[in-house]
Amino acid sequence: MNNNTPKKYWRGLPELHQSEEFLQQHQNEFAEEIPLDNSKDEGLKTNRRDFLKLMGFSTAAVALASCETPVNRVVPYVVKPEEIIPGVPNYYASTFYDGHDFASILVKAREGRPIKIDGNELSSINKGKTTARTQASILGLYDGARLNAPILNGKSVSWKEIDAAVKKALSEGSVRLLTSTVISPSLKALIQELSTTINDFKHIQWDEVSYSAIRSAHQKLIGKNIIPEYHFDKAKLIVGIACDFLGNWLNPVEFSREYALNRKVSKEAAEMSRHYHFESNMSLTGANADYRYMVKPSEFGKILVALYNAIAEKTGTNKLADANIQNKTIASAINKISEELIAHKGQSLVVCGVNDENLQAIVIGINQLLENYSKTIDTTITYHLKSGSDSDFLSLVEEMNAGKVKTLITYQVNPLYSAPAFTKFEDAYTKVTNKIHATNYLDETAQKANIVLANHHYLESWGDANPKTGIYTLQQPLIRPVFAAPKYEGTRQFEENLLAWTNKSEDYYTYIRNYWKANIFNLQNKDADFETFWVNALHDGIFESNPTILSEVVSSKENKKEDKKKGNKTNEESPKEKIELSTFASNAVSAKSADFELMVYEKVGMGNGNQSNNPWLMELPDPISKVVWDNYITVSLEDMDKLGFEKMLRQDKDGSIATLELNGIKIEVPVLPQPGQAPGTIGLALGYGRNAQTLKVAHQIGVNAYPFIQNSNGHFVTVSTGVKLSNTGKKHEFAQNQLQHTVMGREEWILREVSLPEFKAKDKEAFNPAAVILTAEGKKPVEEVDLWDQHPRPNHKWGLTIDMNACIGCSACVVSCSIENNVHVVGKEEVRKTRDMFWLRIDRYYSSDMTRKKAKEEGIGYKEMNLEMENPSANPKVTFQPIMCQHCNHAPCETVCPVLATAHSTEGLNQMVYNRCIGTRYCANNCPFKVRRFNWFNYTENWRFKDVNPAAQELTRMVLNPDVTVRSRGVIEKCSMCQQRIQAGKLQAKKEGRKLQDKDIQTACQQACPTNAIIFGDLNDENSEVVAWRKNERNYVLLEELGIRPTVSYLLKVRNVDEPLLDWNEELWYEKDKSEKSSNKEEAHA
């Protein structure tokens, strides 16, 4: 047969020649050797085939292993403490004071470990409310970065050795103790006792964010070195000059509550306070003002003097130096404000947040002109917070430089991080022989100190505080020290150190008790014996003295002091020559303007930076800029253009980096465009740029702003002029959790607002109309059109209402929600990918110059209008809107879930079932509010989140709420309206066999909110507060036209401005609809 085939085909010469080599190769399946062993050469332990085999085996093994019973151990106490029942939380009253913030708190503990902090309702300062920083402070307790042993010359040693070393140092004399303000009367007494045992001892109080100018101005004008009490609730008119009293200034939780009291309006009570604000940075307070003016820091003095002059002129008093204000809008505003201020004599309040004596003196002058003292300002009750003195600090540095200080003890301050550059503290510090630093962390100062005393966290310590005249609080330990023997040498509270050094055998608890017995027990006449008084005070966490008894005791003490003084030194203590206001005024007016002026500010989350290692605060979006995990300078849009910085920040467009230069300090810092930033000014936040490696969370995030703080007549002022700014051309990645600045002309659906005159004059239909929909039977209110049947809500119908007039954007609710519901912290990279996990976010919207009305009038096309609408105004109006799951009664998410993992309850809640969810994310796509969050990772186990996520570390995991599931990878999560609290509240009522009362259940956000802007309750209960709120004419729901029937409602924002704000609906569908209706009516009549 072969012979019959004449043609032969071959695939190359080797086959043609049939060489031996070819024949052999021909036999093999593959032409070349299979590189079975090559992979081993590359450092891999297995090759591909082995890998597949192994994978097969391991899969089978895992499958088999998963079928085995896991053995769970249950370990009861040996002797159960009487008050602890596993599963039932205990609450203890205590005090939070970290040298910067003060709060009277109630701590929730489960099985002996603190898990949540809320305000103490018995305290007149907190009234059950807290700030974001107070909420977050609990995580510091479980922070693994904390020191667990004292350090002597770089080595961990025992406390005995430390005590010996310190005692030796103290015996040498020339000791200085540098602390932030001490508000603990017991600690003050203890320091006093210590001072008597030491040769040449001085206690210097210095606040990193200083308020010394208010005190010295009061000293010079009124003769008292005080910060008086401010009554924002009594003020009908508030004028603020760079004073962030809602966010950070002095005691924001108290001020914001009082401020909000006069902002909640209804038709029945349609009066609200008016708030004017002058500032350079866009602050939280400025964002809430009715009128906000952008001015340079150098103009603050001029504005105050001009305001003083305008009032003086109208009331016939002597004027001060001429302010000479060039800006016409500012000048006319000052004229208008002065008139209103005179009309509100004794009902107004002027406050200034700049630590400049001249400015503070003029503020006092204005308030005196307006007769505000003893009405809205009370000098008999004073703040004991922030009583540090900057000049004392400066003289300390001088002494240190002169070598007069042998031992320096620092506590609750971190001067190597926070001392301004001009003080050259770092050089002075090296000249001290014994550098003792008491701290929780191995921070910047601790790195340079000889002796580092490891402090207790405040939840492990005893203590007391006297933040304000007549208010005494107690601090009690909630837990045994986390770092303690035998595993660690352990921590010790600072006061115990002092007791050890004074050779006292008593512990600090006994010391406080004795102090209270001797000094505070007599401030009351309610309890006859001390034991009862002490137990009550400890239970309540607070003792507020009766004012009459207090004044008696105080005056008798003062008399004694005065007698003593008179007896001893006659001339020295006589009040200094009274300085005339005019001197201050001429100083204030003479401030020189510069091209760029820097104002350093505090962020709501970060504060002065002593909590910067807290991931909750790092991930908390700044309420104005919405930036997380970052520090940056804020620059006006105008200056951004001039210097060529990148204005449009998006995920794909990075920000610019600038060089900031002042008096030889030169830093590179990212730039953020900030609407509302005064042109020619720069803002930079404190608390970042930590340079201590042990602070794993905060290390090298952002830049340190403290060096930029300047000296102004012995007061540290946050303003510095003459800053040079230039573009480096480098790029920086920002992480923001809101990139959209405006509502893009959708005010009627999302953000309704109205001016106070309009609110008073018009009826509800005009400013808060119900949405209508076009049907076959004509236009109908959305309420009446329904695709689905209504479901019965036979027992409860939970509802949440948010008053946007009261919401100031302070973000306490956000932190509270995250803690209560174990919300994951994901870090900067994930936030950049819009994968933040917040169940509750606060949307911040700027107003735009472009409106639909304007576009219509000027004939601007639709596209151009929309493009222009994206840009916020140069000085925009700001609105904060907390958004959580709206628990829609016709929820779009529920209809698209393929596995019924989200469903509605008979109590009106939209429930998310994690164990059912398969992670299709259809629901997140279909949610019009974008409140559903997807778990992209198993955050608790993934190494990427080890440093940032509290749930990922063994120690910080202690803070998790055991009543709420920690979500794993692949499931959606969202606000549950604190379902665990609802269930607990219902159970309590059932157990007690009673009806559920209105305030039995509070959501975490509601509980934290300092302004009471959030109310939760049963809509089926006619007497509940939430129902009362919803009867307000301001009540509306978001995106009403979609017919999704949200359970959460909002009270629209009323601004106390004279100009009309209702242009968003006058020209539009509402007018048309109204005319249609009226024509319908006419027809009916005919």
Binding site: P76, V78, I85, P86, P794, L987
Partner: protein, 425 residues
């Protein structure tokens, strides 16, 4: 006269019955309130003195004095009663609980009646019984194993029989073939023969294989349902691990009738019923140092955990070490279950979920703890709405909704007890 007499006889009769009941009630009260510190019919001193012969010791009239002492010993001591102070000092001034408010005078009478009555007979028999039971269950398990072996053997025998019969058949066939002159039958290989048979009976094979596949899948499916469930519906047997201490619920809750809440005292206050802490064990076992089943060995473990030295009667806290019990009733982390909800509000008995613990020497999971099981109960259990004002609104609504319908139960399901968010959050 007659009537009077018979009445008095009747009265006597009733009082006797009454008396007997009193002693029983007294025994119960004694167990609940006194047994922790006092031995009833012996001299043994626990926390307090043994009460044998107590009526002879105390000042007369004994009943009156004892009543005063039991109700409020503090008052009696303060009043300066000589004997009361003597007792107080003899017992290291350890104060006895004041029972005023907890016990009525009649209760005290009952307790005294119990103390006067002869000591109850000890119960040793049940232990042996329970041992028997254990061995018998072990036997049944063994016999089950042998069953499988038997089946295997039968199959093996059948296969051998089939092969040999086949060979016999072929041999006989060939003998016949040789005789009839037909060619000798060449036997096919067994495999080929089976193949041939399969091809011949392809319909039967198809149906059979369908059944096999179906049964296989069904049993796979059933097995999958049991992943993570440690309970066998058929045998009603569940997870029964060996605990670090051979604690017998039968002896404690069954024989000695200690109320569940005495040890699991969180059940009415918390979501957890609570595993008793060692100090609760010590309340009794300070006195009861030897067990029926296990002698002193297991008690020694309690003492080790408590850091207690029975020879000196002193505690050393530094040596205390909690007992690491093995959890039997495990629920997944994403389930919120509250004992107080079910026990206080739902008024369920412990046995409904935990089985008859009183008869378990080793505690065993008696219910599957699956969601199906939870939900079934929620579907069937009626909510006790009447008398609880919390339910007023719901009750009115349901009555209105099911007006005129018969046999409607207002179950947990009807008030939203099947909603996901009630247990998962």
């Amino acid at each position: 006269m007659n009537i009077k007499f018979s009445a008095s006889v009747l009265l006597l009769f009733f009082t006797q019955i009454f008396f007997a009941q009193n002693a029983d009630n007294g025994a119960k009260l004694f167990k609940q309130n006194c047994a922790v510190c006092h031995a009833s019919h012996s001299d043994q001193k626990l926390t307090g003195p043994g009460l044998k012969g107590v009526f002879d010791r105390v000042p007369k009239p004994a009943d009156e004095w004892l009543t005063k002492w039991i109700l409020n010993n503090e008052k009696l001591i303060k009043s300066g009663d000589a004997y009361a102070n003597k007792i107080y000092n003899e017992n290291n001034k350890a104060a006895m609980t004041v029972f005023e408010g907890q016990l009525s005078e009649n209760d005290v009478k009952d307790i005294l009646a119990f103390l006067k009555a002869p000591p109850p007979a000890s119960k040793n028999t049940p232990v042996a019984q329970s041992d028997n039971k254990q061995t018998s269950t072990a036997e049944t398990e063994k016999s089950k194993g042998s069953n499988y072996l038997l089946i295997f053997l039968v199959i093996f025998v059948l296969v051998v029989l089939w092969i040999s019969l086949r060979n016999v058949r072929i041999a006989l066939q060939n003998v016949v073939n040789v005789k009839t002159g037909k060619p000798i039958y060449e036997p096919q290989s067994i495999g080929d023969e089976i193949k041939e048979w399969l091809v011949k009976n392809n319909r039967l094979v198809f149906v059979l294989s369908l059944i096999i596949v179906f049964v296989g899948m069904k049993s796979c499916w059933d097995e999958l349902w049991k992943v993570g469930v440690y309970y066998d519906w058929k045998t009603q047997k569940g997870y029964k691990p060996e605990q670090p201490i051979k604690f017998s619920h039968k002896i404690h809750a069954g024989d000695n009738e200690i109320a569940c809440q005495y040890c699991h005292n969180g059940v009415e206050k918390s979501k957890h019923s609570g595993i008793p802490t060692v100090n609760i064990c010590m309340n009794c076992h300070k006195g009861i140092q030897e067990g029926h089943n296990t002698g002193k060995a297991e008690k020694a473990k309690i003492y080790a955990a408590a850091g207690y030295d029975p020879s000196t009667g002193k505690y050393d806290e530094s040596k205390a070490n909690p007992i690491r019990w093995i959890k039997v009733y495990n629920l997944p982390d994403h389930v919120y279950f509250s004992h107080q909800q079910h026990v206080v509000v739902g008024k369920l008995q412990c046995e409904q979920c935990h089985g008859n613990v009183k008869e378990m020497d080793v505690i065993e999971q008696k219910n599957p703890l699956t969601m199906k099981w939870c939900i079934n109960c929620h579907r069937e259990t009626e909510v006790q709405m009447a008398g609880n004002p919390y339910y007023d609104r719901l009750h009115a609504y349901l009555k209105e909704k099911y007006k005129g319908k018969r046999d409607v139960k207002f179950t947990v399901e009807k008030i939203g007890g099947l909603e996901c968010g009630k247990c998962h959050y």
